[in-house]
């Protein structure tokens, strides 16, 4: 009689723990899926930022800004003085 009571209690405990474990597992799987989604979103965002950065750094845009905003221009060959080690840097 005592043994069967003990077994009964163990049975109930095991049944409850099974249910809890399942619930816990569902919660964790759901969390995992959410984290995965966030990771995908972050990766997408990163790619968007890389694309944006690349557009902002594009040579075309830099040239446009240099010419229009900063009023810069390409030097002519007459404007360039070439220095050579054999010319002796500092001295004339």
């Amino acid at each position: 009689m005592k043994v069967s009571l003990l077994l009964f209690i163990i049975l109930i405990a095991s049944a409850i723990s099974l249910v809890t474990a399942r619930h816990e597992s569902r919660k964790l799987v759901n969390e995992l899926e959410n984290e995965r989604n966030i990771s995908t979103k972050i990766q997408e965002h990163k790619r968007k930022l890389v694309a944006e950065q690349s557009t902002l750094k594009s040579p075309e845009r830099i040239e446009r800004f240099a010419k229009k905003k900063l009023k810069m221009k390409q030097p002519n060959s007459e404007d360039i003085i070439l220095l050579s080690p054999s010319l002796g840097g500092g001295k004339r």
Binding site: V29, R47, A51, T55, E78, L83
Partner: protein, 578 residues
């Protein structure tokens, strides 16, 4: 009143009532048991399938297409998420939307209000696409309008930050992310990756509660680093564009090669198109990568190969005098003429310097056709390209057995055979590398590469020396000279063949050059097709070469090897007005 009061408990109920109750309960339980048995065994498969349909889903795992970068890791093509606005007309209560919201929506999506009304009224459809591929930031604003029935679908789109400058090179994908042109096409397998799928169970709230099985994992596409230098590509592209606009030409192409590694640093063309705007994809001419796909008669830029073949066969020496007979040579019924004529006797070196057709033809007459053919063929002319670009031109070089005398003469100065600009640029590597032909690639390589020997080192040096005189006083390519550097190169001005004969007034102007001569690092090839007005290579192609080569030398950090000390010192002492 002696009667004993009857207690309720003492009421004796008829026995049949209890029995009936027990029987009924027993029957009830039996019915339940029978039903359970039926569901569990007989009808099990059907019920389980039905249940699964309600909670189980196959989730597809999308593989992201790989990034294409230039040699320095700058993005050339990148996959970005875009949203598609969908609407379920059945769920939308059309009257419930205020006109204000509707006009806001039409403003945001840049769609006509009448069109919107029509789309929202398609009651027979489950889902209608309102607008495809809009940026996520805009999609957020649309959703903030809180119109019921409006939904978003995330899809992916290729974005090309450099737009027109790299358009024909990088190519495009179709709407399903499959490579259609250029690098996107030829590296489709590498870039695409593999999509996967996973079986999951969902609950009523659409939350994932169980992962049943992963059928296959998604593998993202690999990143691809090209040999291209984005900065240099842009400069070459804008110079090609400027040349076309300035000379009212049909098209222009520029190729830049690294002599040591065989990497293709630049392939630029004008006209071009915007790869980020599908409505510009109609112009087929603009979508071709002319520098790689288009084959043309190279003209005088081929002369150095004839000279190399003659030097190699010891038929001539650089100083040998050639009589150009007044700049006219008659072969059969054809007349070969020189554009510039000053002197009857030219050295072999001067034949190159002044680009004499007659001189080159006479030198070719000293050799057997096979000897010239061998040098050309070993230099890659008429050979199938080994690089990875789709549709790369092979060029035409007829077998020497079918050459008649006139063919040997015309081929010696680059007519009656054809090649792509990339082939031509690559062939020049034999002069830049001391006689070996470099294998070219579109992928970043960065290590020196072995080439196949075509001519001896001695011959290569001799021809390079002659090519250097072209950019000196009296040569045809003076406008290609770069202060501070020693530059070798060759001009080419040729009539354009059209329908079996040469069209009047239609020319092709080209220039191929090497720098710095003391230790060659870069080859730049330029071709401008059908310039109006002045068509000489010295005026049209050489200046483009100079600008692109200057930029290339700067980009690769190559030290000047030809500083004119006197000139610099004079300028340093007496600087001009500031």
């Amino acid at each position: 009143m002696t009667a004993k009061p009857q207690s309720v408990l003492n009421i004796r109920l008829p026995v049949w009532r209890a029995r009936l109750l027990v029987t009924l309960m027993f029957l009830g339980f039996m019915a339940l048991a029978a039903r359970a048995l039926y569901c569990q065994s007989v009808n099990k498969d059907f019920l389980q399938a039905e249940a699964e349909k309600r909670y189980s889903r196959t989730k597809s795992l999308i593989a992201t297409r790989g990034l294409i970068t230039d040699r320095n890791g700058e993005a050339l093509a990148i996959t970005t998420a875009v949203e598609t606005v969908t609407v379920n007309p059945r769920r939308i209560n059309f009257e419930g939307i205020s006109t204000e919201k509707l006009s806001q929506l039409s403003n945001l999506l840049n769609l006509d209000t009448d069109f919107l009304k029509k789309q929202l009224n398609k009651k027979n459809k489950g889902e209608v696409y309102l607008k495809r591929q809009i940026p996520p930031s805009l999609a957020k604003k649309v959703m903030l309008l809180e119109i019921p029935g409006l939904g978003l679908k995330t899809t992916y789109k290729r974005y090309y930050p450099n737009g027109e400058a790299t358009a024909q090179l990088v190519g495009i994908t179709n709407i399903d992310q499959q490579g259609q042109e250029g690098i996107e096409y030829s590296y489709q397998k590498t870039l695409a990756g593999k999509s996967g799928s996973r079986r999951i169970n969902k609950n009523k709230l659409n939350q994932v509660i169980e992962e049943v099985a992963t059928i296959s994992n998604a593998e993202n596409g690999a990143e691809l680093a090209l040999s291209i230098d984005r900065q240099l590509q842009y400069v070459a592209y804008s110079e090609a564009k400027n040349a076309v606009l300035e000379h009212e030409a049909k098209s222009a192409s520029v190729v830049v090669l690294d002599v040591i590694t065989g990497e293709i640093l630049t392939v630029a063309n004008w006209p071009s198109y915007n790869p980020n705007n599908r409505s510009t994809f109609k112009n087929q001419a603009a979508m071709r990568n002319r520098a790689v796909v288009h084959q043309f008669e190279p003209g005088s830029t081929l002369k150095p190969f004839t000279i190399a073949a003659a030097l190699e066969g010891k038929f001539v020496t650089p100083a040998k005098l050639i009589d150009i007979e007044g700049g006219q040579l008659r072969i059969g019924r054809r007349n070969i003429k020189d554009d510039h004529f000053e002197n009857n006797l030219l050295t072999v070196s001067d034949v190159v310097k002044t680009s004499s057709n007659v001189g080159t033809a006479k030198i070719s007459q000293m050799m057997e056709p096979t000897q010239l053919w061998e040098t050309l063929s070993k230099s890659g002319f008429g050979q199938l390209p080994t690089h990875q670009f789709p549709g790369g031109a092979r060029g035409v070089l007829r077998p020497p057995e079918s050459w008649r005398e006139i063919h040997r003469a015309t081929i010696s100065y680059g007519m009656g055979m054809s090649a792509s600009l990339l082939q031509l640029a690559r062939a020049y590597s034999i002069f830049a590398r001391g006689g070996t032909l470099v294998p070219v690639t579109f992928e970043r390589r960065s290590a020196p590469v072995e080439g196949r020997r075509v001519i001896s080192e001695h011959t290569a040096r001799a021809v390079l020396k002659m090519l250097e005189t072209v950019t000196h006083e009296g040569g045809t390519g003076v406008s290609a000279a770069i202060p501070g550097y020693r530059v070798a190169g060759k001009t080419g001005t040729a009539k354009v063949a059209a329908g079996g004969s040469y069209a009047r007034g239609k020319y092709r102007s080209s220039f191929v050059g090497i720098a710095p001569v003391s230790n060659p690092r870069i080859i730049v090839a330029v071709m401008v097709e059908e310039p109006s007005g002045s068509y000489y290579a010295s005026v049209v192609a050489a200046p483009v070469f100079r600008k692109v080569m200057e930029e290339a030398l700067k980009t690769l950090g190559i030290d000047p090897d030809g500083i004119d000390l006197d000139r610099e010192v004079k300028r340093y002492v007496a600087p001009g007005p500031v």
